[in-house]
């Protein structure tokens, strides 16, 4: 761990946190375009956050400390997650603190906190939201883990940086195991980030919403942090996907010269992924809530299959 | 000399109590005589420990480690039962279940029973052994029907007929042994002396001896309570007075088994095969399994523990059947702890029944609330008899099971089944009696719980520590049998 490494680490973390809302904006913009709307612009999320931070927070009478602490915890978790996923470079000293398993753990921690916070007020919707969120979570989490395991088996390591390095140096070949895993990962990504077809990020219809039900009681700065964390989460997921399945172009080591190229590559890949997400969301319709487990168990199955296929083909 | 005391005291007591048994102080006399017998037995034990096996009266009586420990056990349980019976029978008298005249019979026969059992244990003559065993039946049969209820008369009748017929078979077996011995030792008394027979056991005719063993096993086995010869046992235990149930279970069965084992040693010598062992293992396993299955159907508390005795006799028979030093040691130990525990349980049961006025287990509830000592006695006693450590029953079951696993693994599933079913059956019935809402009442006489806890304490001790002299006894006896 050297100074350059730490500098890189901090740089990347800050970059991710700052860039995350832009990605969200980009996805929304793409979606608007696809739906023949004008779209609010990429920077809209920043504006929203800014406005929320300025508002006066309104909290229910019986909210406990947990309720108020959760947005910060959430934000911290996501920041950490963003800090350990190799986006720009693979030499990240913090990455040793958390491998893929810990990464899944971080997401789980965030999920548990937001679910608890949702139940804190004691309204009917909070409870429903928490229960649905945990329903998604209990299947998405292992599916995610299995996806990552396929990569881990491939590279013989669970450290993301090592995985990425190994995969980036690999000859390009269609890897059936990895392909399964990629599909599974995509499904998990959709579910975990409250995207269509599992959830609709723009709805407030009580019977179908998940994410929005969870955060119904939040306002102002709390809401801002939660939303920002959600944006980072989406960003992190996308970068994980990129790192696992299309790792090429990332800067290895603390390579300052490679940095601009890495930034460019990352931006391009993210833009593409965001657009893809928008397309996906446009062409598909939302499932009913109780179909979500089927969707996710398919993901889980695919991930496990991917792992098994890996063992059958890569002896 | 001590033998005279051991045998004379109860005989004298019997005669005296036959005259004075109805008096107010008869229970105390009973206790005194039992205590005196115990003291005499203790002296005998000291003597045997000091100078080894001995014979007396022209070899008619014989003391070795095997029977002396049973004598000590018999006298001890006889004494504690006498202590227990004092308040118990007083309460029965006050409830009008027995009259003073019958108490005379009770006390006289009690001492007579002790006498016959001690004769059975101490005699060297297989013929006398048979006579004394029959005497033990005769002296207890009228005790079983002491209450003169239809059920008790039926039980006593069955006891009498079944054991009588059984013992007739044993007599035929004894005749056959005599027949075989006659050719080796010549006729006369000498041919029935166990010590003499033991010396020449290898020369005895195998065909006759194996036939003899069948008759003896069926005969004495009836008294032991081996399935399917056991049918008298639960009835007699349930319908007689509780002190009698205690001595039947605790002592009589042991003594009958003692007779079987004495014969087994001779027959083994003659045959030189594992025939007797296999027979006993088979009977033992059958007994354990069937008794366990019977256990789960019981409603009467004393019947329940009667069946439990059958089950334990099965275990002991199996142990002796396996043979070998460890198994025989375990069998002897099991005899000891079973008779201590089971008689202790019957004491507790006796008080519980008096307190609640019923033997039906469904009507006995929550002893621990109103009568903590009885409740704890019953609970701990049942756990002990079920082979839960640290009580001594576990010690012997430990040795028996591990030896069985090592030498006869095929038998262990049966044992396991028997023990598990017995546990479920007994504890499932005892627990609601001990715990829960109470329905017991107060009694005019303080229960004598000292015997219960004395027995449990002894059994607990045997589970954790076997004193060296006792160990020596067991070892010598096991060497003799195994």
């Amino acid at each position: 761990m050297d100074a350059a490494g730490i500098a890189f680490q901090i740089l990347q973390s800050v970059f991710v946190v700052l860039a995350a809302p832009a990605l969200l904006g980009w996805v929304n913009q793409c979606r608007a375009w696809l739906q023949n709307r004008k779209g609010p612009g990429i920077l809209r999320p920043y504006f929203l956050l800014w406005r929320l931070f300025h508002k006066e927070a309104v909290v229910a009478h019986n909210a406990s400390a947990l309720f108020r602490a959760t947005p910060y915890v959430l934000f911290g978790c996501m920041w950490l997650a963003a800090g350990i996923v190799p986006v720009l470079a693979t030499d990240l000293p913090f990455a040793f603190a958390a491998d893929i398993i810990a990464l899944v753990g971080i997401f789980a921690l965030a999920r548990v906190f937001i679910s608890l916070a949702a139940m804190d007020i004691g309204t009917a919707f909070g409870g429903i939201g928490a229960r649905r969120e945990m329903l998604i979570g209990f299947l998405a989490e292992p599916a995610m883990l299995m996806t990552l395991f396929t990569a881990a088996f491939l590279s013989g390591s669970t450290a993301l940086t090592t995985i990425v390095e190994t995969l980036a140096h690999r000859e390009f070949a269609i890897h059936p195991g990895l392909a399964c895993a990629a599909v599974a990962f995509l499904m998990v990504l959709l579910a975990e980030n409250a995207r269509i077809p599992v959830d609709n990020p723009t709805t407030h219809l009580e019977l179908t919403m998940i994410h929005e039900a969870l955060i119904l009681e939040y306002s102002a700065r709390h809401l801002a942090l939660v939303e920002w964390a959600a944006a980072i989460k989406l960003f992190a997921y996308m970068t994980i996907g990129i790192a696992l399945f299309v790792p090429w172009g990332i800067a290895e080591g603390s390579d300052w010269l490679g940095l601009p190229l890495a930034v460019a590559a990352a931006a391009a890949k993210l833009a593409l992924a965001g657009a893809g997400l928008a397309v996906l969301e446009t062409v598909s319709a939302k499932f009913r809530v109780f179909r979500a487990p089927e969707f996710l168990s398919t993901a889980f199955l695919l991930a496990v299959l991917g792992m098994l296929v890996h063992f059958l083909t890569d002896v | 000399m001590e033998i005279v005391w051991v045998l004379g005291v109860p005989l004298l007591g019997s005669a005296l109590l036959a005259l004075l048994g109805h008096k107010r102080y008869a229970p105390e006399i009973n206790i005194v005589f039992s205590l005196a017998t115990l003291v005499a037995a203790a002296l005998l034990v000291v003597r045997v420990i000091g100078s080894g096996p001995m014979t007396a009266f022209d070899e008619q009586f014989f003391v070795d480690p095997f029977n002396v420990f049973l004598v000590a056990l018999t006298c001890l349980v006889g004494f504690t039962t006498a202590v227990f019976s004092r308040p118990y029978m007083r309460v029965e008298e006050e409830h009008g279940r027995v009259t003073a005249v019958r108490l005379r019979l009770y006390h006289g026969a009690y001492q007579l029973f002790m006498f016959t059992m001690l004769v059975t244990l101490l005699t060297n003559n297989l013929g006398i052994l048979w006579v004394a065993m029959e005497g033990a039946t005769l002296s207890t049969v009228l005790l079983v029907s002491l209450y003169r209820t239809p059920a008790s008369i039926e039980a006593a009748w069955k006891y009498f007929i079944l054991c009588g017929v059984g013992l007739a078979q044993a007599l035929f077996g004894t005749i056959l042994i005599y027949f075989a011995a006659e050719k080796v030792l010549g006729g006369g008394t000498v041919s029935l002396l166990w010590t003499q027979l033991y010396e020449v056991r290898h020369q005895l005719e195998p065909t006759v001896m194996s036939l003899a063993f069948v008759f003896l096993l069926v005969g004495y086995g009836t008294k032991v309570g081996l399935v399917p010869l056991h049918n008298w046992l639960p009835d007699a235990h349930a319908e007689g007075p509780t002190p009698i149930s205690a001595v039947l279970s605790g002592l009589l069965l042991n003594v009958a088994l003692y007779a079987v084992i004495r014969s087994k040693v001779l027959v083994d010598g003659a045959l030189g095969t594992e025939f007797t062992g296999q027979l006993m293992m088979g009977f033992g396993l059958l007994t354990v399994v069937v008794a366990a299955l019977f256990l789960s159907r019981q409603r009467d508390i004393k019947r329940l523990f009667g069946y439990s005795s059958i089950e334990h006799m099965g275990i002991i028979t199996f142990a002796f059947g396996m043979g070998g030093k460890v198994a025989a040691y375990a069998g002897l130990l099991h005899m000891t702890v079973h008779s201590l525990t089971k008689s202790g349980i019957f004491f507790a049961v006796g008080h519980a029944v008096q307190k609640t006025g019923t033997q039906n287990m469904a009507d006995i509830r929550g002893l621990i609330e109103r009568n903590p000592t009885i409740g704890w006695g019953l609970a701990l006693g049942s756990l002990a008899i079920l082979g839960v450590p640290p009580f001594g029953v576990f010690t012997s079951e430990f040795m028996i099971l591990t030896t069985a696993m090592h030498e006869h693994p095929w038998a262990t599933p049966f044992l396991l089944f028997g023990l598990a079913v017995a546990f479920a059956a007994i504890f499932g019935k005892v627990q609601p009696m001990v715990f829960g809402q109470s329905n017991a009442r107060r009694l005019p006489h303080q229960p004598a719980l000292l015997p219960v806890f004395l027995h449990l304490l002894l059994v607990l001790m045997l589970g954790l520590y076997i004193p060296p002299y006792l160990d020596q006894w067991y070892r010598q006896a096991a060497a003799l049998i195994g």
Partner: protein, 216 residues
């Protein structure tokens, strides 16, 4: 010479055993029992005479006193006092019982033959008969449904055993014989007491009244 007489006695014993098995009347049973005792006593005396075993004389006298005189009288008076003279229907009909009895005799003979070869006594061939009469008495106890015949069966079984002892071994040692006799005597008295108790409690000596203690 003695051997033939003893064999004759044995045969009579076997016939008596069969007769008891088939006899329906209680008093006749008691009479048969007395006859059985007499034959036993006579055969014991013959053995005693031929072998010179002095204690067998005592045995013979004991048998005569106890089993020919005392027990039949006691039984007779009990029957009279309890007024249970009526006929006894066995549980299984007589022909079946007889067939089973014949089977038992064959079995007993088969069992006893190898042992008889070993015996050095003049009476050895009777061991099979002794065993057969023991088993026949056993069978009789099984098929009787009244208390008194059952007890007579029990006593007859004792007789069979006694005969086995004499025939196979020239009798057990005297001490043992005395002890056995004492037991039989006391046993009979106890039975007597029981008859009264049963009668008092159940108004009958039918042992079918005593089938209450069972698993249900």
């Amino acid at each position: 010479m003695t051997e033939q007489w003893v064999n004759l006695a044995a045969t009579i014993l076997l016939i008596i055993a069969f007769a008891m098995l088939s006899q329906r009347r209680v008093l006749s049973l008691v009479r048969l029992f007395a006859w059985q005792g007499l034959v036993l006593s006579v055969s014991t005396a013959m053995v005693a005479y031929s072998t010179g075993q002095s204690h067998l004389w005592i045995s013979a006298a004991l048998t005569l006193g106890l089993k020919v005189i005392v027990l039949p009288i006691v039984l007779h008076s009990l029957i009279v006092r309890l007024n249970v003279r009526w006929d006894v229907e066995p549980l299984i009909n007589v022909p079946t019982t007889m067939l089973a009895g014949i089977g038992l005799v064959i079995f007993a003979f088969a069992l006893a033959t190898p042992i008889s070869q070993l015996a050095g006594t003049v009476t050895r061939s009777t061991l099979g008969i002794a065993l057969a009469s023991v088993l026949l008495s056993f069978l009789m106890m099984i098929v009787r449904r009244k208390a008194v015949p059952q007890v007579i069966g029990f006593l007859a079984m004792e007789n069979g055993l006694f005969f086995a002892a004499t025939s196979a071994t020239y009798g057990m040692p005297l001490v043992v014989e005395l002890g056995i006799a004492l037991d039989v005597l006391v046993g009979t008295f106890v039975f007597g007491i029981f008859f009264f108790h049963i009668r008092e409690t159940f108004d009958s000596l039918d042992i079918r009244h005593m089938e209450k203690l069972k698993e249900d």
